[in-house]
Amino acid sequence: MIKSLTTSREVLLFAAIAVLLGLIATRFPGFVAPSNLADVFNDTSPLILLAIGQMIVILTKCIDLSVAANLALTGMVVAMINVAMPGVPVAVILVIAVGLGTLLGMINGLLVWKLDIPPIVVTLGTMTIFRGIIFLLSDGKWVNSHEMSATFKAFPRAEFLGLPVLSWTAILAVIVFTIVMTRTTLGRAFYAVGGNAHAATYTGINVGKTQFWAFTISGALAGLTGYLWVSRYAVAYVDIASGFELDVVAACVIGGVSIAGGLGSIGGALLGALFLGVIKNALPVINISPFWQLAISGSAIIIAVAVNARANREKGRIILKSAEQAA
């Protein structure tokens, strides 16, 4: 279990982040101050949460392009509930957010499982449908800060042991899903299904059902993040987190999750998200025009996938080596 957390790929990425932080520190030492790093982590938390879900989906050889739309829809729904009924406690809001997100994830999962539609088509479709539903629900109107209740907005910001709840949620998710992925049957089934669907069937694992659960988890995390996002930025509208799904996929790819399925870890997704988070937060601080950000993260994706491909290159059967040993 420890082994799966610390493969060489993650060490490499960790080193890359450390080097990056070092470089930033030479230009702006304040960036690596613990309090600032905590801010960066807090800021990256939504990306971490979504990357965990996305990683599980990609692990099963699927992709979920609807996460950001799911987040936005769930966020809008809880925001509207809060406006309509400011008295609803945060605990109930959380349940609704996770529940609705789960439901939306299940819709994706069912279409993939029962109708065998390619995941990219399913989630491309639901992505636009979810966004459209937000528009229909809200009539295109924004839910603004002043309309939300104080407790609704306070939850992600509340500090506990010096860190905001938003950060704790990400940390908790990392821990929980590390255990799920390494120590439970379902977690291992995700790896099995993506690694070799044929073999998984022979092992008694239902491939479609496992993919369904992956989408469900991804949806649940997107729903949770939906509430956290909306309450943290204190605004909800149709286009929140627009295009964020690509950041999420990018975080996974940088974190060494193989798009071909079966390879990846929670640690990788976490580090991939942090890598993007550090870049995003550092650029304005070290006075590089924010217009560079897109090109940098694009290059990071290309480099990451090239490095991973090199590491995973199919090894030969090494017939000769054994010949030399025998000789």
């Binding site: 491309l124 449908i129 690509l246």
Partner: protein, 328 residues
């Protein structure tokens, strides 16, 4: 054993029979239904100029969709097409600042498209990387370069004759863009369905290993497909830039998914191996008609996207649901 082998007929169905039962036929019915519904829903629909204006909603995307269809049939994908438009448009804008005339602008636009396509192609075919990830990366990279070059600025001041490509009319209501779209559709129809190259695209998409073992130069074909996709993005960049008369780095944002949607709606299997150009042409019209028809009713764009999203899932799900239901 006694059956003589020469009893094998060439075909069991005539080409017309199989065409009638095809996806394209179904899609054509959908298109006709939408056309009729639109004519009833809005008094402004059946009007030559309005229909002509409506084509601008899809012609540029469809041009890319043809090349993308071939790429997807071959089992690859290019999500960087919209970013290539941005980069090609930026390059043209920079050329204008340097005093270039329209012919040079065309070359710059096409050249940038080809270069970007080649870059994708090299990463995918030479380094053996998965195209979906590579092109998510280059999608950020290409547009990122536009942002670095342009930042918060915009390029304008395109020569007046350059406006023809996006705003010109060839004859009466027939716009230059529409003519270009039609010509490109015919060219891609011939490439995919009438040439050896098209046959190898299908072979590769169905079984890349088998195609390689059959002596097809798989990587060369894929590389050419990436080049073509880049080239088409370059052509679309010329049209769009001409139509807008200016360049910003956010130009054509999000088009890659609309192009993929068009291709998939056209019956191209996202997993590769099957699909036709007529299907993509009809899908382009379906999307164009839906968005224009709803636009005439002042339905917000996002609601149209629900319709398109539902169409996308529905047209694939319904036949499967039907066959599942029949098996009961």
């Amino acid at each position: 054993m006694t059956t003589p082998a020469n009893a094998i007929p060439d075909r069991l169905q005539t080409p017309w029979e199989s065409r009638l039962k095809s996806w394209e036929a179904l899609l054509l019915l959908v298109a006709i239904a939408i056309f009729i519904a639109n004519s009833f829903a809005s008094p402004y629909f059946l009007n030559a100029w309005n229909l002509s204006d409506a084509t601008f909603n899809f012609t540029e995307k469809a041009m890319i969709a043809f090349a993308m269809a071939l790429l997807i049939i071959s089992g690859e994908i290019d999500l960087s097409v919209a970013a290539i438009i941005a980069l090609a448009s930026t390059a043209m804008g920079a050329a204008v600042q340097a005093g270039a005339g329209t012919p040079v602008l065309i070359l710059v636009g096409l050249g940038t498209g080809l270069l970007c396509g080649a870059f994708n192609g090299v990463l995918v075919t030479r380094m053996g990387l998965p195209s979906i990830v590579v092109t998510i990366g280059t999608m950020s990279l290409f547009r990122g370069i536009s942002y670095i070059v342009l930042g918060d600025q915009a390029y304008r001041g395109y020569p007046s004759d350059f406006a023809f490509f996006g705003q010109g009319y060839v004859w009466w209501v027939i716009s230059f863009e529409f003519v270009l779209f039609a010509i490109i559709a015919v060219i891609y129809f011939v490439i995919l369905h009438k040439t050896n190259f098209g046959r190898s695209v299908y072979a590769i998409g169905n079984n890349p290993t088998g195609a390689l073992f059959s002596g097809i130069r798989v990587n060369r074909v894929k590389f050419i497909l990436f080049l073509l996709t880049g080239l088409m993005a370059g052509i679309a960049a010329i049209c769009l830039t001409s139509r807008l008369g200016s360049t910003r780095p956010s130009i054509a944002f999000g088009w890659e998914l609309e192009v993929v949607t068009m291709v998939v709606l056209g019956g191209v299997n996202i997993l590769g191996g099957s699909g036709t150009i007529p299907g993509v042409v009809i899908a382009a019209f379906v999307i164009g008609l839906v968005t224009f028809g709803l636009g005439l009713l002042n339905v917000p764009g996002i609601v149209m996207s629900i319709v398109v999203g539902a169409l996308l899932i529905g047209v694939i799900a319904l036949p499967r649901l039907w066959s599942q239901w029949r098996q009961r």
